[in-house]
């Protein structure tokens, strides 16, 4: 009986956001909620790699690349999770290199990194191949499917904007810091 009382007394804070909620919101496409509320899991160093991968992918989809650094370190046990870890690490590196390129004009030519479907990887690959033009301090990339425009904001802490164009129309705008 004493053990049971101790058990009940030792109940901790119950999280309102559970694993099932993470998966449910991910399937529903609520990526912002998954990324923001899911921070509870990776900040407390949760080791559930499937949930971490889901949260990481949701963050990547909404251009929240910085949290991926916390997620990557626990993706180690299976081949699929290791690939997911490398995927997130690749996005972090590509974001930093693109930022450096826009700010400091570093040479990205012949730099080869893994290829992904993320806009950062597409832009990076074109920059490394030299497939871009500089027009009015903005970097223009044209591919068969889409057009991309990279530019720096005028803020004190400059942001890199990547605008996606299709048939001349702005489809989506991303920004990274």
């Amino acid at each position: 009986m004493r053990f049971i009382m101790l058990l009940f007394l030792s109940l901790g804070y119950l999280s309102a956001y559970s694993y099932n909620d993470v998966l449910k919101d991910y399937r529903a496409g609520n990526f912002e909620k998954v990324c923001s509320d899911g921070s509870f899991f990776y900040l407390k160093n949760d080791k559930n790699e499937h949930i971490l991968t889901v949260i990481g992918d949701a963050c990547a989809k909404i251009d929240a690349i910085n949290p991926l650094g916390n997620i990557v370190k626990n993706l180690v046990t299976t081949k699929e999770h290791r690939e997911s870890g490398s995927y997130f690490a690749t996005l972090i590196l590509q974001k930093k290199l693109i930022y450096q390129f826009m700010q400091d004009n570093i040479n990205l030519k012949e730099l080869k990194l893994p290829r992904t479907n993320h806009v950062l990887s597409i832009v990076f690959e074109n920059l490394s191949k030299g497939n871009y033009e500089i027009v009015n301090k903005k970097v223009q990339i044209n591919t068969a499917e889409m057009g991309y425009l990279l530019w720096l904001s005028d803020d004190e802490q400059k942001r890199v904007y990547i605008d996606e164009y299709k048939d001349g129309k702005l489809v989506k705008s991303h920004w990274y810091l």
């Binding site: 053990f3 119950l14 309102a16 694993y19 992918d57 690939e83 997911s84 490398s86 893994p114 290829r115």
Partner: protein, 211 residues
Amino acid sequence: MTSRRFEELEKRALKIQKIRIVKTIFFAGLFSLSLSSYLYFSKNYSLKITEKVSIPQPVIEKEPIQELINTPLKIELKKEEYPTLTLSPTIEQNASSSFEKQQYDTLKQIAQTNEDKEKFLLQNFEKNHDFETAHSLMLLYFHKKHYEKAIYWSQEAITLNPASDQPWIFYAKSNFYTGQRNEAIRSLEIYLKHFNTQESTQLLNFYKGQQ
């Protein structure tokens, strides 16, 4: 001895000397003749061999030096082409394991999402305060995913019957689903110190494997 005798001896000595000289010349001549004949014949033999075997001389085409200077050195480097590594995150759409799914299906058969049943059970517990009612309420709320209530009723059921493993198991599961994995593991460890069931052991191993 007379002078005549000396003359004869002298003549004889001269004669012997002459014979010796002739002999020396003869043998020297014979030696030189044999040597020269040997040399002569051996030379002829080697000459015959060289006549039979002719070693072809290499033919070197001499290009003009000027052409060599003018022609650029062409080095074709083969670019080793390796496929670029492509990465993508692996997201499993169906996250529930077979173990949990089995438990959930069993639970679905047991508990019914019936509001009347909830009222009935609550009223019954107020009257009888028994383990079976608490157990049924625990299952009912767990099935409805009201995990906080499921935790409460699992505690009630444990208090009434600590030896039963089901309330411990659902207490652990409810904690797990609300993100309290450590609490879920601790409760199962406490139970397994005093009792031992296969289902609780399996669940504990499963939760520990999630770490």
